[in-house]
Amino acid sequence: MNNLMIAPVVLPLFAGAIMLALGGEQRRNISAALNIITSFALVAISIILLRAAAVAPTGVAGGYRRGDWPAPFAIVLVVDRLATLMLLLTSLLAAAAAVFSLARWHRVGVLFHPLFQFMLMGINGAFLTGDLFNLFVFIEVLLAASYGLALHGSGSARVKAGLHYIAVNLVASLLFLIGVSLIYGVTGTLNMADLATRIPAIGAQDRGLLEAGAGILGIAFLVKAGMWPLCFWLPGTYAAAPPPVAAIFAVLTKVGAYIIIRLSLLLFGDGTGASAQFGDQLLLMGGMATVAFGAIGSLASQDMARLASFSVLVSSGTILATIGLGQVGVTGAALFYLISSTLGLGAFFLLIELVERDREPGADVLAVTRELYGDEDDSENLQETGIAIPATIGILGVAFISCALVISGMPPLSGFVAKFAILTTALGSPANELPLAVWIFLFLSIMSGLAALIAMTRAGIRSFWASPDRTIPRVRLIEMAPVAVLLLLCAIQTVEAGPVMRFMQATAQSLHAPHHYVRGVLDSPVRPDDSRGPT
């Protein structure tokens, strides 16, 4: 069990390294097989870790001390409910995207599989780590891999969007470093749990500096989470990225949101002295602005990929605003929403490519790159004669409607349960006097659902009720299956809404009571008979 905690980081690292060592492109089939095996192994590991965290009474299954140094000095990995939940979400989407990429997308450029694994390593590490600077390193790993994946397949649209994406993220990383070093300069520690114990004791003369550091750090994460007005880079990049990559990118914004949830509740939750609720108002306002921007953007977008990108913004805006509300019940509902919307968006990004196939300019890019990598002719022919599933349009249509239901929050799928839970918990008991900001949030939340419904209905009519001479896309089973599985997971989340919601509420409760996390990290036992450990 103990060594399993580091497996989500080490396994993709080794898988990626082996793929590179085997010669990368010459043995793409081996790389593909390794990628699939590792992705599914990560799903299994995440489930085991999730179960361990779920049965742990405090919500923290344990800390993994690298080198077995005691906690504030060593860099720790912390396995708690929120981290394992995000791990499971990532590995599910990754497995779906990996299977999807086998049909054609892994052939349009080089080194798809190793980069994919390195990105998973970065994402998993960012979820697990309990140290601010280590978080920086893992985020750089995932960003470096994501730069490569965003440019996968090349083409001028991707390079143009990638240029903006890289520049914005490099600046965000520099802000991250400034924030981390300010916090270190004030508190003298980078361990998150240790920070949580030291922040209440910070004197008034240093508090301004601490809050400046936390604010700058927050900006860096809000750029990744895509809060308005820091999100201008997102729609272009996500729309230009190859579909399996875009599906994983749906999780990348949630990495930013995860860190905001983690740090704002751990460092500035209730009972942390003078800085309690630091930044909550800003998160609420910014989140609401993001929801409004995303909703208007999705109404205005012409093609489906941009529509999906703006839906990503609506999703992260809703999550940021609910964190800003700072109530246990709302946080639990927001986590439910996070899982549901990310699965829905991942499925939607994969589906768009199937629906728009043979019609979009992306197909031309694909053709060009196929010429560049001309050695693939035989496998391309093989693909054309592969089994195409019948009644393609019907199945695609059903999947599209399911995505629309999940993303816009209409019954009967999980999007509705999530939105309903957020609205009821935000309203609270009828006797409560609600502040104006909450009313605006409720209004925006409902209106964004309406906007998503209108935009998706319009896009659906355009592509499914078009003139009968429309070319029917050739879709293979391994492309349709990941979409179906992701939507099935949304359906399971709806059917099992009771247990899932209880888990989310337990997670929210342990997040709002950070002393469990702090004790879980700092008090994790050092083996007494271990002579290698420090004295």
Binding site: A144, Y147, S181, Y184
Partner: protein
Amino acid sequence: MEIVLAIGIGVLAGSGGWLLLRPRTFQVIIGLSLLSYAVNLFIVAMGRLKIDAAPILGSHAAEDITGLPDPLPQALVLTAIVISFATTALFLVVLIASRGLTGTDHVDGREP
């Protein structure tokens, strides 16, 4: 000492920020490099400045660690230098690819 370092960081960050907002990709990459120098110096400064102190613990000086500079920011800055060097190199490749594909060095891929 402090004022010299502060002015140095300020000048680097200011010119880096200005260059970052320029329309040519080469200016952007130089701006990013200058900004990362400023950030690296800033990290060192956050470990408090010390002059004439041994950088690492000697064998006989174990009893007095207060006279030594903080080693952690040095480790952090080393990591930050490596990472920013690697990402800048990667950005350079994308920059050249963009120049080759679009025929212009404007950040938007076309002349305004």
